[in-house]
């Protein structure tokens, strides 16, 4: 069976749903496998980057994942979705590799909330204290971010700023924001893949977004001061 035996299948495969892909894979259709790789490889690499030190290593882990998928396919029972299964393989491999690199990747719910209980979205000093006129209110109005079109076109510099901010996030926050905001996947899928609770996922996402917002804020402030 070769992929050349299916002319004009490219477009159809691109729109195939999971059930069709799985059926194709089990039939030994190489085109189904190529489609799967094209669909998910980029995201596998992005997610791996949450756990490992370099893009090259992330690429390595993603390739290993595909080999793991091939090995595991005969016994895949479909209890989870194919996507969840593939990304769980990736997550486990990436964490293992990260640990081997000496990166500490604690991931239990308890660790996340106990080690960083005090992380607030905005530092307390931005708000008025008990002795100020309006306790709990902003000291200074947040910027309108008029100096940079943050949500329309990303300049190379802003892109770099955001990517650097993401790269600095702890693995738990980085993996959540990658799946939820970079990829746009649902909370349910994210929790299934990373095997964390829904409430933990929300806390991690909240903190990750807050850190990225601060990085953009610094960037915009620099742009404002330059004008």
């Amino acid at each position: 069976m070769t992929e050349a035996e299916q002319p004009n299948q490219g477009q159809e495969w691109a729109e195939a749903d999971e059930a069709q892909l799985l059926e194709g894979l089990r039939r030994g259709d190489g085109q189904a496998f190529i489609t799967l790789v094209e669909r998910y490889h980029g995201t596998l690499v992005r997610l791996a980057m949450s756990f490992v030190g370099s893009r090259a290593t992330a690429e390595d882990v993603a390739q290993e994942t595909w080999l793991g998928v091939l090995r595991g396919l005969p016994t895949f029972e479909g209890r989870s979705s194919l996507k969840t299964w593939i990304f769980r393989i990736l997550t486990n491999r990436a964490k293992t590799r990260g640990a081997r690199e000496g990166r500490s990747i604690p991931f239990s719910d308890m660790w996340t909330l106990e080690q960083e209980p005090g992380e607030t979205a905005v530092a307390p000093e931005h708000f008025q204290g008990a002795n100020d006129p309006e306790p709990g209110h902003w000291r200074q109005a947040p910027s309108t971010w008029a100096a940079a079109p943050v949500d329309r076109v990303l300049s190379a510099e802003l892109r770099d700023t955001i990517e650097a901010a993401i790269a600095e996030l702890p693995a738990s926050q980085q993996s959540v924001i990658t799946l939820r905001d970079l990829e746009g996947w649902s909370a349910l899928e994210t929790c299934n893949i990373l095997q964390i609770s829904e409430s933990n996922q929300r806390v991690l996402l909240h903190r990750a977004r807050a850190r990225v917002r601060r990085a953009i804020e610094r960037y915009v402030q620099a742009a404002e001061e330059a004008t």
């Binding site: 496998f33 790789v37 094209e38 905005v122 709990g136 943050v150 802003l158 955001i162 970079l182 917002r213």
Partner: protein
Amino acid sequence: MSHASLTCRELVELVSDYLDLALTDTQRARVEAHLEWCGDCTRYVDQMRRTIVALGLLRPAPPDPATITVVLEAWRQSERR
């Protein structure tokens, strides 16, 4: 949570869930009541909304074509049983 109105400091901790429609009806109502009069927090929520949009604009690097070759070869090997 108390029934007193939210301070800005409390509100910023709810913004992520607010934008994801993950708050209870009561919490959402309190956030919206605060935003009605607080221009500062309205700006903050706007910043956060735009942050999330910006994250979605980051396109991943395209997969290395060599990768497709490598994994496809592994596929062929596994098919030759």
